[in-house]
Amino acid sequence: MIEDEKRQAIESIGLIKELITQTEREMWYSGGGWISIIWGIFCLVGFSGQRLLYTTGPLRGLYWTKGVYWTILSLIAILATYLVVRSRVKTQSQKRRGYFIRGFFLFWIPLIILAYVLSSFCIFLPDISVKYIPIFILLVISTGYLIIGFLFNKEILFMGTIGFVGTVITGFLFLSYADIVLGLLFGVGLIVTGLISNLRWKEQKLLQKTG
């Protein structure tokens, strides 16, 4: 009888801890619509700009400048993300700040490094075309969205699925138009994901305020 109570106590504590942790994580990610919007704009501007500058524009033929172009855009997006996150963590508890820092360093940083490693294969291995760079990067990023989506957020899961499938199809069928297709797919997809996330978050907040 006592053993049964103890077993139940362990199970209950486990369930409480799991639900509290999941809810805290979900709270963190469900307010992150603006981050999704920033990276959506990054994809739209980045890919369409690349098309304009390098296909018909002034940088035609100067492919080495692509690295500089994407680095500048990435730095702007990272700075904007940092500002959004900073404005949000001000009101968060120390525990939630910890979730973000752990989430960022243990999740996104390794994925970004992986994307860079795969991209470097395209540059250093002559058999793999540099055209595959965005495909590799976006496959890795989509995998990141899929993992986060599975764990926390349905909208991000949807975006991850569309992104992953879309990138594979583009890689096989529309490689010459990859910048346009992927720019639109990830740009519009991430902006819509961010807007839906923000809308849900606002509704939740509105309910709490009027409660």
């Binding site: 103890k6 106590a9 209950s12 409480i16 509704e203 009027t210």
Partner: protein
Amino acid sequence: MPEEHIAIKLNKIFHQKARLGIMSILMVMEGVEFNYLKERLKLSDGNLSTHLSILEKKKYIKIKKKFVKKKPKTLCQLTEKGHQAFVEYINNLEKIIKSMPGAERK
């Protein structure tokens, strides 16, 4: 028999998986919508309503119905009494676990 004593003190209202889930989520979020709880805990409308009513009768939660953008919404909020009762419940669970033989060694 201190172990038996702690076990008896456990609040039986929370000693149910669905209600334990509801209370755990409400401990984190200030207010939660009915459909959110339904989705998170994978419960039917009727089942969730029953559990919420039990918690509401004990004054552990408050349930408010309101309209947001012309759509009816049901909001569940934890009361101070509910918060205290659940914290006490968690403390008692921990006491039971600590009273296990060899628990200190772990």
